[in-house]
């Protein structure tokens, strides 16, 4: 087997050293009755070429050749080939968590750079070394607010990603946290009247998303003011991080939970992505996840180490801030490389192209009779439209034109029966937008 570096003779030599007559003797501590008597029933062995062939065949059964207008928390953006080239360097790819600082300065410095980039983007003072993804980061951010305030109620905007809300619900169930939903107002933002009336002194946090799941930008500064009046914390989550190139960061929020997928990570059918928690410096001791700090070595030179580790599970055990051990270091590295490539101007330009193309698409779609923009508040690269008929049926028509239609909002919001969430990033061309508009027009003209 090509992954195993031993000849039969070397195995024999080693076995002789340990004084075993057969390999089976090495497993003598496993009771006979539980030892497998036959080989596992697994497909393979496959050569490298056969493995590639298998996965290419599976790839062919997916959506190759379609143009997609899906976003909803996962975005298609341009990625430089450099990002994958760098993160596939064995020194990064095949290294462990940097506990041995002397021989992992590469990973440590890159994480320190990642933490800095995340602070700059979000307008926050500190950021961790990454979390599993946006959904778990948002959940952990809420739990962090619970610890900071010692309060047990959380208000969550209904405009937060439905799957993020679902994850929070799972985690909250056994932690004594009560989660209540705040409805959406007519312009698509969180209903501040209901929010204000639900906010009492027992509320730990208000969780909002911006741009929210309907594409609309939330008034973070106003929401922070409202939350702070009763001593609650504002937790803001961002699923489309490219927006931060052009939209004001949630600097007024107390904790930010960001999904970084948009920065150099492929959609990859749902993961791996990378979450981040950023917050005010005074909250850092309650922040979950790893942190890298700058320090000096025995010769006074700058170096980096994992720090404030006492918050973590391997030391605090049952008193840890979270049970998370891994972060998403390699994904965080991809984000770091990608953002260094984009730079200040590149990020701004990318964000601007998203805004421009989404505006253009909206204009084109609004020309179609019966199609209307659902919410008036400003948006970035996603917007909600209302159609005169079922989005599901329309999408089925679009598929025939090799178009993956917009997200069907009715699946997550039963009240939005004829609403679709359209996402247009810089990867979509004008021609594709026009083709989409014309396909939608003819789909709507078909007899029902």
């Amino acid at each position: 087997m090509r992954y195993l570096p031993k000849s039969p003779d070397e195995r024999k030599q080693m076995l002789a050293v340990v004084g075993g007559k057969s390999i089976d003797e090495l497993f003598s501590s496993v009771p006979e009755q539980y030892r497998l008597k036959k080989a596992l029933d697994l497909p393979g062995p496959l050569s490298e070429a056969e493995i590639i062939q298998y996965f290419k065949a599976r790839a062919g059964e997916n959506s190759l050749g379609y143009t997609s207008f899906l976003g909803a928390g996962v975005y298609n953006h341009l990625r430089s080939v450099i990002t994958d080239t760098i993160i596939q360097r064995g020194e990064f790819l095949t290294s462990y968590t940097p506990y041995q600082a002397e021989i992992t300065q590469g990973t440590l410095q890159s994480i320190f750079e990642f933490q800095t980039l995340m602070c700059q983007l979000t307008g926050q003072e500190v950021a961790n070394a990454s979390m599993y993804d946006g959904s778990t980061a948002a959940t952990e951010a809420v739990l962090m607010a619970e610890r900071l305030t010692s309060r047990g109620r959380v208000l969550v905007a209904r405009s937060v990603h439905p799957e993020y809300r679902a994850v929070l619900k799972t985690y909250a169930k056994n932690s004594g946290l009560t989660v209540e939903e705040v409805p959406i107002s007519v312009d698509g933002t969180v209903d501040t009247k209901v929010l204000q009336s639900s906010l009492k002194e027992d509320v730990a946090a208000v969780l909002v998303q911006s741009p929210n799941f309907l594409g609309v930008i939330e008034p973070i500064a106003d929401l922070a003011n409202i939350a702070h009046k009763v001593g609650a914390l504002l937790v803001a989550t961002v699923t489309e991080a490219v927006s931060l190139g052009l939209v004001n960061p949630p600097a007024e929020a107390d904790i930010v939970a960001l999904e970084g997928q948009s920065f150099g990570l492929a959609p990859s059918y749902g993961g791996p992505y990378v979450g981040v928690i950023a917050s005010r410096e005074k909250f850092v001791r309650q922040m979950p996840g790893r942190l890298v700090g700058q320090t000096t070595d025995s010769n006074g030179r700058r170096g980096f180490v994992l720090t404030l580790a006492t918050r973590e599970q391997h030391i605090r055990r049952e008193k840890a801030t979270s049970n998370i051990c891994t972060n998403q270091a390699l994904c965080a590295l991809a984000v770091t490389v990608h953002l260094c490539l984009l730079g200040k101007e590149g990020l701004r330009e990318m964000a601007h192209q998203n805004l421009s193309k989404a505006r253009f698409a909206l204009t084109e779609l609004e020309k179609i009779p019966g199609v209307r923009r659902a919410f008036d508040a400003p948006f970035f690269n996603e917007f909600t439209i209302e159609l005169p008929r079922s989005v599901k049926l329309v999408n089925a028509q679009l598929l025939r034109e090799k178009i993956v239609g917009p997200f069907v909002l009715g699946t997550a919001y039963p009240e939005l029966t004829k609403h679709a969430l359209v996402c247009v990033t810089e990867t979509i061309t004008r021609v594709e937008i026009e083709k989409f508009a014309s396909a939608l027009r003819s789909a709507l003209q078909q007899p029902v």
Binding site: R285, A309, T310, I315, R316, K319
Partner: protein
């Protein structure tokens, strides 16, 4: 370092200096030595109630977290704010400037259950003997 004779001590290595119904609480030199370099101290806010034998805060070194237990019960009147910025004082001056909290004593009689300096010294010597055995 000698253990101040006017203080009282616990088996968990806290000391208390009680005067006029107010007790100043800290950790002993032995405790700071066991902990190693202290990097962070977490203390309760004034007004918080502490209970004899129950944890009221934590002291952190780089790789360990230790609970600090109240020698006696009472209400916190002051926490040592200096330790927020200079936790290293706990290593250099544990019996004086690096006190942790002051409390209003709930029950003076609880003090009698604690060791005096001589008894604590003997307790430590016994511990050291065990360790080297």
């Amino acid at each position: 370092m000698t253990y101040p004779p006017s203080y009282r001590y616990t088996t968990q290595h806290e000391w208390i200096d009680a005067k006029d119904g107010v007790g100043t609480i800290g950790i002993t030199d032995y405790a700071q030595h066991e902990l190693g370099d202290v990097v962070f101290v977490e203390l309760p806010k004034p007004g918080a109630k502490v209970q004899a034998g129950k944890s009221f805060g934590t002291v952190e070194s780089v790789k360990a977290v230790s609970e600090i237990y109240a020698p006696v019960s009472g209400e916190v009147v002051e926490a040592n704010a200096d330790l927020e910025t200079t936790p290293e004082k706990l290593n250099s001056d544990p019996h004086k400037s690096a006190w942790l909290i002051r409390i209003k004593l709930a029950d003076q009689a609880e003090l009698a259950k604690l060791m005096d300096a001589k008894a604590y010294d003997a307790f430590i010597s016994e511990k050291n003997k065990e360790a080297s055995a």
